[in-house]
C-alpha cells in the first residue's frame, strides 16, 4: 500500500509507516492528556472544597465556572470563542507585534494542519475507492489533482507561518528582556516549530525542484517527507501534553473558564 499516491512511485512513502507513526502519536497524546486530566482532577470542583481526584473534576469545574455569572466581563461563549480564542484580542491589546507574531503562527499552522488533513482524507478516499473498484470519483478527488489544487494555499500558509516563526526567533535571540527570561520550556516549543517548518520547506523543495530544496537529489524527497511527517506528528500531537504545546489546549480552556478573563 502506498501513501502520497499523487506522487510518482519513487516518491511514495509507505502508508503503513505513516499510519503506525500517526497511531503511536495519537496514543501518546491520549495517555498524556489522561495524565494531565488526572493531574488537573487533583483539584476540587468548587472554591474551598476538598480535592476531587476524579478524572471528571476538571470538566465539572469548567462547566460550573462557565455557567456562573462573572462580575466583570460576563461575555458569551461565542464571543470568547471568536474574539478571544480565534482572534486572540487579549494579545492584540497588550502588544500588536506579539499578536502579529502569534497570529501568523497560529493561523499558518492551523491552515496547514487542515490542508494536510484534507490531503490525507483524499488519499484515503482514493485508496478505499481503488480497493472497492470504484472509479467514478469527481476529478478533484484524485490525489494528484487535489495536490495541485492545494499547492498555492500550501505555499501561502507556509510563508505566513514562516513569518511568525522568524519574528519569534528574532525576539528570543535579540530582545534582551525576552532572551533573559527564556527557559528550556520556551525554547523547545520554538525549536520544534522551526524544525517542522524548515523540513516541510525542504521536502517540498526537493520534490518540486524549488530553491529551498537546495538541489538535493530527488530520491531524498521521500525520506525527507517522511522525516517531516514523523516529527510533525511527534511534536504536534504526541508531545502536546508534556510540553509548552499544552498551551494550545489549556489557553482556550482558561479563556472559556474565565469568560475571556478580566
Amino acid at each position: 500500500m502506498d501513501y502520497f499516491a499523487g506522487v510518482s512511485d519513487a516518491l511514495r512513502l509507505t502508508f503503513v509507516q505513516v499510519m503506525i507513526m500517526a497511531s503511536l502519536s495519537i496514543g501518546i497524546f491520549i495517555i498524556g492528556m489522561y495524565i494531565n486530566l488526572k493531574k488537573w482532577g487533583m483539584g476540587s470542583t468548587g472554591y474551598g472544597q476538598q480535592p476531587s481526584g476524579s478524572i471528571l473534576a476538571f470538566p465539572t469545574m469548567l462547566a460550573k465556572q462557565m455557567s456562573e455569572h462573572a462580575h466583570v466581563h460576563n461575555q458569551s461563549v461565542l464571543e470568547t470563542f471568536v474574539l478571544d480564542i480565534l482572534f486572540q484580542r487579549r494579545i492584540l491589546r497588550r502588544s500588536p507585534l506579539r499578536w502579529f507574531m502569534h497570529f501568523t503562527i497560529f493561523f499558518g499552522w492551523m491552515a496547514l494542519f487542515v490542508l494536510s488533513l484534507a490531503m490525507f482524507a483524499v488519499e484515503m478516499v482514493h485508496l478505499i475507492s481503488e480497493r472497492l473498484g470504484v472509479h467514478a470519483l469527481p476529478e478533484f478527488l484524485y490525489p494528484e489533482v487535489f495536490r495541485e489544487l492545494l499547492a498555492v494555499p500550501n505555499d501561502i500558509f507556509s510563508y505566513i507561518l514562516l513569518t511568525g516563526i522568524i519574528i519569534a526567533i528574532y525576539r528570543r535571540l535579540f530582545v534582551a528582556k525576552v532572551r533573559e527570561s527564556t527557559i528550556a520550556y520556551d525554547s523547545v516549543l520554538l525549536i520544534g516549530l522551526t524544525v517542522i517548518t524548515i523540513t516541510g520547506f525542504i521536502a517540498d523543495g526537493i520534490r518540486t525542484g524549488r530553491f529551498w530544496g537546495f538541489d538535493m537529489p530527488v530520491e531524498w524527497a521521500p525520506p525527507m517527507a517522511l522525516f517531516h511527517v514523523v516529527i510533525s506528528l511527534l511534536f504536534c500531537i504526541a508531545y502536546i501534553p508534556f510540553s509548552k504545546y499544552i498551551h494550545m489546549i489549556a489557553i482556550p480552556l482558561a479563556l472559556l473558564a474565565n469568560k475571556g478573563g478580566e
Partner: protein, 414 residues
C-alpha cells in the same frame, strides 16, 4: 520500596486552577505590570509568571508523568518556604489577571495557593497570623471592643433601628478612619435617607482572612459572613451600602461563594448610590472645593468588580473640583500597596508601592489624591509621608462629597 509521598498537595486549588498553571504562555506581560515586583526591586521571585512556573513544577514533580512512573520527586522544604514568602508579597491587586494573555484568574490562584500553604503549615506571613485570633475574639482585626464601632457617633447622627437601607461601615472606617464613617452617616442624614447599621453586631467582612488564605480555618469567614447576612436581614435591609472597597468586594463576591447562597439584598457602593442621586438632581451642593483632584481606583472596587465610573461621576459633580487623571487608571491602575494582607504582613513593601502611587499622583500636579476606600487612603497617606510630599492632600471621595454638601466633619475623632 515504598513510593515517596508528594511534597505538595492540591488542597484548596480547583481543577480549573490546576489547568491554568499549564495555560501560562510565559508572555511576561504580568511581569511588566506587577506593582510589588517593581517595588521589591524587580525581585524575580515575585514575578507572577515565575510563581506560576514554580507551582507548575511542584505539581509536575508530584503528579506529572515521571512522578506517575517512578514516584514523586521531593521538593526541598526551603523551596516551598521561599515560594510561600513570595506568594504573600502580593497585594491581590489583580493587575496580572487583567493583562494576562491567557486570561488566568491569577488573584484567585494566589489566594488558593495561600490557603493551600496555610493548610500545609507554611502560611500565612508575619503578623497576618494574628488575624484569625483577633477576628475570633474581637470580631475585628484591630483589637478594638466591637461596641466601639458606632458608639462614638456624635448625637446629631441619626441611625434607624430598622430600615430598607443599611450602611455596612467596615472595621477600618468604624474603628480607625472614622471621618469616612461619619461623613457617610451625615451625608445620608442630610439627604433624608433613612438607614440602619449593624453596630456591635457587625463582624469583619472576612476580606483579611480570605485574601490571606485563612478563610477555611474553623470556617470562620463563612460563619461570620452568614452572621452578617442574617443580621442584615433582621434589620429589614434590602440595599446595603459600602464605603470600603474591601468589604464591598467581600460581600459581593466572597459571601455568596462562602455561604453557597445568593445574597438577599443588593450590594451597592456609596459612590454608585451617590451617582444615581446626582443624576436625579437630588443632591444640593453648598460649597465649592476649589482643588485639582486626582482619583485612585481601589483594586477591590475597580478591577475586581468593574466600578470605575461612579466615583469619577461624584468628583466631577462636586463644584470647584477639577478632575485630573493619572497615567495608570481604571483597569490599568497601579495598586496602593495595602491589600492582600501586605500592609500587615510586609509593611515595607506596602509603603514602597504606595510611594510609587503617590508619585503617579504628584505627576498630575494635583492638590489632592482621592480614593473610595479607607484602606487605600491610609496607605496612600503613609506613602505620601514616606516621600515627604506634604503638599498633597489624601482624602476619600465620600468625605469630599460630604464637605461639598456643607457637612461639617471637624468633630470627627481622627
Amino acid at each position: 520500596m515504598a513510593k515517596r509521598k508528594p511534597s505538595v498537595n492540591t488542597e484548596n486549588l480547583t481543577a480549573v486552577q490546576l489547568m491554568e498553571l499549564d495555560s501560562c504562555s510565559r508572555c511576561g506581560e504580568c511581569v511588566n505590570w506587577c506593582p510589588t515586583y517593581d517595588a521589591a526591586g524587580q525581585d524575580p521571585g515575585l514575578a507572577p509568571r515565575d510563581k506560576i512556573l514554580r507551582w507548575r513544577e511542584f505539581m509536575n514533580k508530584s503528579y506529572g508523568l515521571r512522578a506517575r512512573l517512578f514516584g514523586p520527586k521531593e521538593i526541598p522544604e526551603e523551596d516551598i518556604e521561599k515560594f510561600k514568602d513570595d506568594v504573600y508579597k502580593c497585594t491581590t491587586c489583580g493587575m496580572c489577571a487583567t493583562v494576562c494573555e491567557s486570561a488566568i484568574n491569577t488573584v484567585e490562584l494566589w489566594e488558593s495557593m495561600r490557603a493551600n500553604l496555610v493548610k500545609r503549615g507554611n502560611g500565612p506571613f508575619g503578623k497576618q497570623g494574628a488575624f484569625l485570633k483577633l477576628i475570633g475574639q474581637y470580631k475585628n482585626p484591630y483589637m478594638e471592643d466591637n461596641k466601639n464601632r458606632v458608639n462614638w457617633f456624635p448625637k446629631d447622627v441619626k441611625v434607624e433601628d430598622k430600615a430598607e437601607i443599611l450602611y455596612f461601615g467596615g472595621c477600618t472606617a468604624e474603628l480607625k478612619q472614622r471621618k469616612l464613617a461619619l461623613a457617610t452617616a451625615r451625608l445620608l442624614n442630610k439627604l433624608g435617607i433613612k438607614f440602619t447599621m449593624l453596630g456591635e453586631d457587625e463582624i469583619c467582612c472576612g476580606s483579611a482572612l480570605i485574601r490571606t488564605g485563612q478563610y477555611f480555618i474553623n470556617d470562620t469567614a463563612k460563619v461570620n459572613a452568614q452572621k452578617n447576612i442574617d443580621n442584615i436581614k433582621a434589620k429589614g435591609a434590602k440595599t446595603v451600602l459600602y464605603a470600603c472597597a474591601g468589604c464591598y468586594r467581600a460581600s459581593l463576591i466572597d459571601w455568596p461563594r462562602l455561604t453557597g447562597q445568593k445574597l438577599p439584598f443588593k450590594v451597592v457602593h456609596i459612590t454608585q448610590f451617590l451617582q444615581e442621586l446626582i443624576e436625579k438632581g437630588d443632591i444640593k451642593w453648598e460649597k465649592s472645593i476649589d482643588k485639582k483632584v486626582t482619583y485612585h481606583d481601589p483594586c477591590h472596587l475597580g478591577r475586581h468588580v468593574g466600578v470605575f465610573e461612579p466615583p469619577r461621576a461624584v468628583l466631577k459633580a462636586i463644584p470647584g473640583i477639577e478632575l485630573v487623571e493619572m497615567d495608570r487608571i481604571e483597569e490599568n491602575q497601579r495598586c496602593c500597596g495595602a491589600g492582600g494582607g501586605v500592609k500587615a504582613g510586609v509593611p515595607d513593601l506596602a509603603l514602597g508601592v504606595a510611594s510609587t502611587r503617590v508619585e503617579d499622583a504628584l505627576a498630575t500636579k494635583a492638590d489632592l489624591l482621592s480614593s473610595a476606600c479607607p484602606f487605600c487612603k491610609r496607605n496612600l497617606s503613609d506613602g505620601r509621608d514616606a516621600i515627604g510630599a506634604k503638599q498633597l492632600e489624601v482624602e476619600d471621595v465620600v468625605v469630599l462629597a460630604a464637605q461639598a454638601m456643607g457637612i461639617d466633619l471637624s468633630d470627627s475623632p481622627e
